[in-house]
Symmetry: D2
Subunit: 303 residues, 4 copies
């Protein structure tokens, strides 16, 4: 999971962090709307200047956040609505040049760690057709137009000995997709967004911006094709949670937040390499991965 | 996993908590020794009065804690040494009446949540022989004396709709083992003991003493046979970690610890149903479960 | 998986075997109908005399077979229709005395062997509510009437050291369900029914009638409550397939079938402990288990 | 699993098939020896002419077969001996130019089909160090000389939509290993070699020679680096088993074997897409994969 070196993977939270401090922010536009039908709120954060990127600590690009309160409850119909809303948003980021595209969906993360298994589990439920269409043509599905869909679960560096980016780059060069969809579990800064927020962005996945485990970039620059990143925060960095709690406590007492930190090197260092997650994370990841793969299946269909 | 309602499942930590406050404690004896060869420290906490039990918040009985710094590193030979040391300690708690015993090993916890999969994974690696010996006799193994070994993975209440204790009680009444070994993932109070401490006790598993998920007791009283509990702390309750950090911060400033709490209802409530675990928990649980099943295999062998 | 000692677990196939030989059969009634909408054929074999039971090599009772050609293809809507048809048939076998029942669903078989994982995987997708209703009442679901649903995955004797029937009996005595639903993978005699046939019967699961691995009966007699067995043939016994091929070959040449056997002791003995299954068994079991758990969820709902 | 289109993946069996027919075979040398200590028989089949290759239906190269009767029994010490013998044989095929090599181990097959999970499970137990050595140097392990070890589980075409060979080629071009070790489950022609035979060859994996599912070659020619294939037969093609049984039956009666076939189109066609495997395949694959990963770990160690 990318999440572990950073405070937050969510542009939404990065934005909040800042506005608290210095109100209006140049080079960062925010659009919000709420779909009353699906009870889903969409927030679009567009970073279109270097300043904005620096202030946000995130690369320039579009970050769409979908918040659905019921997302961590087991309501099939509701999840179908979310899948359709999510599909609509994914479509807005897909490259428009070609109607029929070859799409490689990459499931990042570690299948053996429940909170990090989102990517691999999304891939398990995808409709894959590239091999069939290449061998038998679209006729095999009785279609005239189709996107070619393939998928990859590269595994984590600790188990492969390779950078995830190396593996993806190699596969992209061999199979030449038009676009890569990279699905990953993320880290939020606060627990209140855990498991009920989905972020889509056209910036790919950047070293340092919360991708500690796969150090190299998975981006248009590194792969030569556009990369759409889809993620759900499933964990919060443990040091972050304690740090934040202590800060807000310090603030309440009108102290310097930085003070709180100096006082607690040990409390925090002890938390290195630890993360916070919910107790029903297995059920949650199972549901979320199904909702996201449905969304991808819908988004890639050509009616 | 039991861990979730409580501050700590470790008698060792409960003891510390107290001694800090009121030094010597009646009705609680502590014996320590260190095996230089295996670099393993053994701490035996014996609670032999009601007072002691009340003060410790743990039932009367013997709690053996094995601490091995290298336990969360991948050194096979080292783990074999720990297995042998652990086997020796398990033997000291096994009922002595009969040389040949029928033993039911129960793997508690949720196979689908990495940090909670310890019990089920331990059971996967056990040497099971009850069915063979009952049908073909010990001759099938060319032995004259053997313990009869069976195992059960009851699953968690959320998935079975039954109390784990109900399932175990039913199986115990049908198969009449002489002793039950219950293996479970535990909660520690501090992260420094995570994944490197093994606790064995002859008190079974008690409601409230950190067994939130299987509410009823798994004890000699409830099952009618002795229950030896074997556990490793793999998580820390998230609220506990934040609370402790804030307390110690408050203490440093000479404030009432209780004060710190009143100030932070929200920070803590937000953490309900959250736990803290390590990022390499999958590898850790895989190793620990193998080490413990080896220990059980050794302990139950009759040379 | 039960299947391994016998030629077939399907009453349908047993019936065919006989009719070939001696046409009309006393004490065995067969009703057939086809649901044009769902393209599902239902065959009901009712064995209501001892003679019939002897001739069929199956206990007296009702065996409903649902055949759906498209069952091993990935069409969600079609599977929903099959689930509804199957739910209707399950309802006809549920005990009628009480409107609200306590139901224990048991997933038989071995989760680690793809072709035998049907039972455990069905249980994974069930709606379980017993623990919630017992603790918070039906109000927790905003319902006035509900069945109480619990589930158990006992595992296989080789891993537990206990008879599956012992485990189930113990749990039944503790939790006192009104009826047990036992889901298991079956053996067919010919490959043409593999993965596209579902059998439901009110006879439970009988020793010798294809339940080699859990030797004791899982029946009303042994458990004290009605047992409905639900199964899908996922394998064919290897010796059966070769034997049958050789027989039909011998027959074609107008030879004694028995002859064919005497000639091939080795060819067959070499196949002991072997089974035949399809290459896409993982996808098939995944789909079938989902279809069956949906059917059970529907059948146990009180509108 | 590759096995499914062919009669056998084992050079040993191919050799037998021929010698039956025409005794001495030009261009195919066979060396045999038996390690009394480990009770392991080694058979080396060297195909060094085009004629030999044509006759055997296998590419030119060296095929080492290790047969160990006890391989499908749970004896740890015995498996360690087999691992050491196997490691010795693997070393004989490793390229000799460089003492320190970069090795990519590829686990072929489908993790979700028990009989096909050998490759992925072998990779799970490997010692992987490439990422650590590249970042921190061999000093991190206190070694002066080390092989760089990485691993890949490409998945199967039906799930990725890509040829396995495409994925491997891409990763090889990115990470530039000196040699590829490809581990896969194989098909035997007869059940008597199932699960107790390990074949190592320096010919890689060839289209048509039993690699139906990953159609393109995984060979020195296609990847540009030597490819050592390691495999264990875990299945027999169902049509093969029936066909063989019928042939030998026909032979016994002094008939044309071809006759037997003409008589049985249906019996065989019904078996398309079916395979035969053993009932304890889960335990078997678990043990074998551990034995093979140990062997690879030993073979790649530089003392």
């Amino acid at each position: 999971m990318s999440c572990f070196q950073v405070r937050t993977d969510l542009a939404l939270e990065a934005r909040e962090g800042i506005s608290d401090a210095d109100g209006e922010l140049r080079g960062v536009r925010v659009e919000e709307y709420r779909n009353e039908k699906s009870e889903v709120s969409i927030t679009k954060v567009i970073i279109d200047t270097r300043n904005g990127a620096r202030a946000m600590g995130k690369p320039m690009g579009t970050y769409i956040t979908l918040e659905a309160p019921g997302l961590n409850e087991p309501d099939e119909d509701y999840h179908r609505e979310v899948s359709e809303e999510l599909a609509k948003q994914i479509r807005t980021l897909l490259p428009a040049e070609k109607e029929e595209k070859s799409v490689l969906v990459v499931g990042l993360g570690n299948r053996d760690v429940t909170a990090d298994a989102l990517g691999p589990e999304v891939v398990d439920n995808l409709f894959i057709n590239r091999h069939v269409v290449l061998e038998y043509g679209k006729a095999a599905y009785g279609k005239e137009k189709m996107n070619l869909i393939s998928s990859l679960v590269p595994g984590v560096t600790a188990m492969t000995g390779m950078e995830t980016a190396e593996i993806i780059k190699g596969v992209v060069e061999q199979t030449e997709p038009d676009v890569v969809l990279a699905v990953d579990a993320l880290a939020a800064r606060s627990t209140k967004r855990l498991n009920r927020t989905i972020q889509i962005s056209d910036t790919g996945i950047h070293p340092g911006s919360g991708v500690g485990n796969h150090r190299n970039a998975i981006t248009r620059e590194s792969l030569g094709v556009p990369v759409i990143a889809i993620g759900v925060p499933t964990v919060v960095d443990a040091a972050t949670i304690v740090g934040d709690a202590m800060e807000s406590m310090a603030r309440q007492k009108g102290e310097e937040k930085t003070l709180a930190y100096r006082e607690h090197p040990r409390a925090l260092s002890e938390l290195n390499n630890m993360y916070v997650t919910s107790k029903d994370i297995d059920e949650t990841v199972k549901r979320l991965s199904f909702t996201i793969s449905e969304a991808i299946n819908i988004a890639l269909q050509i009616a």
